[in-house]
Amino acid sequence: MSESPPPSPPPPSRRALVLATCVGGCALALAAGGPAVAMVFAPLSENGRGGRWGRTIKLDQLEEGAPKRVAVVDDRRDAWSVERGVELGSVWLVRRGDEVIALSAVCPHLGCSVNAVEGGGAAGFSCPCHTSAFDLSGKRTSGPSPRDLDRLETRIEDGHVMVDFRRFRIGIAQKVET
């Protein structure tokens, strides 16, 4: 009965143990953090909602060359909620004969809301934040804005001005939708 015990496998080297512990630790971290990171980073892959044609006011209510601020009303989906018929934002309308120019009221500089400037020759728009100024067609005349006001498409339907409401990235020279 004095058989020598079967040769036991060589003890794992310290290096293998360190490696295994590291791998295990990383797996734990991944298990705990991975799903959380995926959730937190979800907005990266989310797209903007694109355009939405919204009805604004009647063409008759627009005076030639006098800018008018109108709210675009539509349903708003925001995360878990949906609201019917709320003001999504506002646009400036400028009538030129039977055509209407629609300009996003969001200043392309840093996203404040632009106001109309009254006064004969210098009529146009100005931003109350960083003094960007634009003419009635939305062209930048002075101030820091990197581009002109963003034009939105319009069409006339049943005498009403319809606007294709969109939002664009702020603070860059190119007009890119969010």
Binding site: V40, F41, P43, L44, E46, N47, G48, I57, K58, D60, Q61, E63, R69, V70, A71, V72, D78, A79, W80, S81, E87, L88, G89, S90, A105, H109, L110, G111, C112, S113, V114, N115, S126, P128, C129, H130, T131, G143, P144, S145, P146, R167, R169, I170, G171, I172, A173, T178
Partner: protein, 595 residues
């Protein structure tokens, strides 16, 4: 007895050696007032933590509830205003103390080898503190915080390559919404505090490891213990800071609360005062240079601060040997002061901004007052949209002010319809009977000349014309004004219509003499012109409501009123205004016209 309890605890935890380790730290060169800023910052942070947790117990982060819950804390909950005020001014105190701390450390040369990592951790803590300020500003979800924070996230979006992703991660999507608020809240109450505590522990541990940096001229043979000499000074400084914060919070009765955030409004956005220099900087870099103001210059300042220990490597901390590396810091400090002053001066001189600001303040005041009765579950914007005093002037400006004038609404120069101030009051009706074509009435409308004066003979009148007596005119005015009173309300004492007999006589006059042209209870207008309106209920809420909805419904004017040939008649608004909005508008117009 106490000693025995302490012995018991100490034997099991070693609390005594821990306490002596914490308290007996030697201060080489002696305790100094200059060293108090770090402790004062820590004390301020404690105040922020305590008040912040208290605020969390009442705050509800969603776009429908955030503003309402902050309003509740500020105006209704006992002690809420004080806690919120302490948190608000405590945050500003931390920013100020940060400035002092960084100035002291720079002047004393405490960033020099071997304390570089302590310095970097401090810079990280500064960034975290500013992050707290930025995220906290949005949480009330009021106009001020909403618009200023939008600018801040848009600035993040201008950073090349990672900008768009950063902005989306902060906003929780491509646009502002509920997720923006929950994300900022998470950053403010979990992420940033955890990071701050971790960095503070490391910062303080390293500070303990290396000790203070006394001025070059200090007598380093003098050594004080942290407790009590330095701790006493630290406590006094922290108490002074807290006292100032209390005074500010009590003086302002809490903290300001602007109107609820409204994405479709216009608002003259400004950041908190300590970001005004950065705000002003953005005005100077135009077009494609924008990024210089948003990212490059602030980035360079940050990079310089990080690199400072490497740029200042000479032996010794004497100030005069370190002028060169410190000059840029002084320039930045000076620039911050100049830019801030310029931003304030620009706004003070800008009449347009002052006007916008006054408008926003009036809206804030009204919103705060309305919310005292509670905010509906649909949120504060719906509350405002249902309030005549808020929604009324907005609707009037949008739909009525291109023709009418009422109070400060509409342009007197461009007016083409009657001025509505005083409309349908006794005085107005008397004026109307006497001179319908007066400038404030039909004088500027296409209907000038249609209604004759009752007491001035028209040029084309024949001999049978006789003027209406003053008494009859008063009677008619009394009756018509009474028609406009809400049902069941007594006439105001002293008014013409408080005389019942006069009102009865007026009714008879209106029924017999005015119905040649006017309708009265659906009858009259014998010539069938359809030009003159119904006088029953004239000036009442129902009349005004009907007139706004559709002036050709016969409740006011007749079908012919909107005949395409009748140019310049008031149009109908029931297509573009909801019934609720028409109610609101009618109520507001009447309230203001008769004020």
């Amino acid at each position: 007895m106490i000693r025995r309890i302490l012995d018991f605890i100490d034997e099991r935890t070693g609390i005594r050696s821990l306490a002596s380790h914490l308290l007996d730290e030697p201060i080489r060169g002696g305790a100094r007032w200059a060293y108090v800023f770090g402790s004062a910052l820590l004390a301020s942070f404690m105040v922020q933590a305590v008040t912040g947790v208290a605020l969390m117990t009442s705050y509800a982060p969603s776009d429908k509830t955030a503003w309402a819950s902050v309003h509740f804390i500020q105006f209704q909950q006992a002690g809420g205003w004080l806690v919120r005020g302490l948190h608000h001014f405590g945050a500003q105190a931390m920013v100020v103390l940060l400035g002092f701390h960084i100035a002291q450390v720079s002047i004393f040369g405490a960033y020099k080898r071997p304390r570089e990592v302590t310095w970097w951790l401090g810079l990280g803590l500064m960034a975290i503190t500013l992050g707290f300020a930025l995220t906290g500003y949005l949480l009330p979800w009021d106009q001020k915080g909403y618009w200023a924070t939008r600018v801040a996230t848009n600035i993040a979006g201008t950073v090349p390559v990672v900008g768009d992703a950063t902005q989306r991660l902060l906003q929780g999507g491509p646009e502002y919404g509920s997720l923006t608020l929950t994300r900022f809240y998470t950053l403010h109450v979990v992420f940033l505090p955890a990071l701050l505590v971790a960095l503070v522990l490391a910062h303080v541990a390293l500070f303990r490891r290396h000790g203070v940096t006394p001025p070059a001229s200090a007598d380093t043979s003098r050594v004080d213990a942290f407790f009590p000499k330095q701790l006493f000074k630290d406590t006094v400084a922290a108490l002074v800071v807290v006292a100032i914060v209390f005074a500010l919070a009590i003086g302002a009765h809490g903290a300001p609360l602007d109107a609820p955030a409204d994405p479709s409004s216009d608002y003259p956005a400004r950041p908190e005062w300590y970001f005004l220099a950065l705000f002003q900087l953005l005005k100077y870099f135009h077009g494609s240079l924008e990024i210089v103001g948003t990212v490059v210059l602030p980035g360079l300042v940050a990079a310089y601060l990080v690199a400072l220990p490497f740029l200042d490597r000479k032996e010794g901390t004497a100030l005069r040997t370190r002028i060169k590396p410190l000059v840029p810091l002084a320039v930045v400090g000076l620039a911050v002061i100049v830019l801030t002053a310029k931003a304030v001066a620009d706004d003070a001189r800008d009449a347009e901004f002052q006007k916008e600001r006054a408008k926003a303040d009036a809206r804030a005041k009204a919103a705060v007052r309305l919310a005292m009765d509670g905010v509906p579950p649909e949120g504060p914007l719906v509350m405002l949209a249902r309030a005549p005093e808020i929604r009324g002037p907005e609707l009037f400006d949008r739909h009525c002010a291109s023709c009418h004038v009422l109070g400060e609404h509409g342009s007197e120069k461009d007016r083409t319809a009657p001025k509505l101030d005083g409309w349908s009051t006794e005085k107005w009706i008397l004026d109307m009977l006497h001179d319908p074509d007066g400038d404030e009435r039909f004088g500027r409308t296409p209907y000038k000349g249609e209604m004759p004066s009752m007491d001035v003979k028209p040029a084309d009148a024949d001999e049978s014309w006789s003027p209406m007596s003053q008494e009859d005119m008063k009677a008619a005015a009394a009756f018509l004004a009474r028609e406009g009173d809400p049902p069941g309300t007594p006439p105001p004492p002293g008014s013409l219509r408080s005389d019942e007999k006069l009102v009865a006589r007026g009714e008879e006059i209106v029924r017999t003499r005015c119905t040649t042209c006017h309708l009265f209870r659906g009858e009259g207008d014998d010539g069938g012109q359809g030009l003159a309106p119904e006088l029953a209920g004239y000036g009442s809420f129902a009349w005004v409501r009907a007139q706004i909805a559709n002036p050709s419904s016969k409740e006011t004017y007749r079908e012919a009123a909107l005949d395409p040939e009748r140019k310049g008649h008031m149009p109908r608004f029931d297509a573009e205004l909801s019934p609720a909005d028409i109610d609101l508008l009618a109520k507001w117009v009447l309230d203001v016209a008769r004020r």
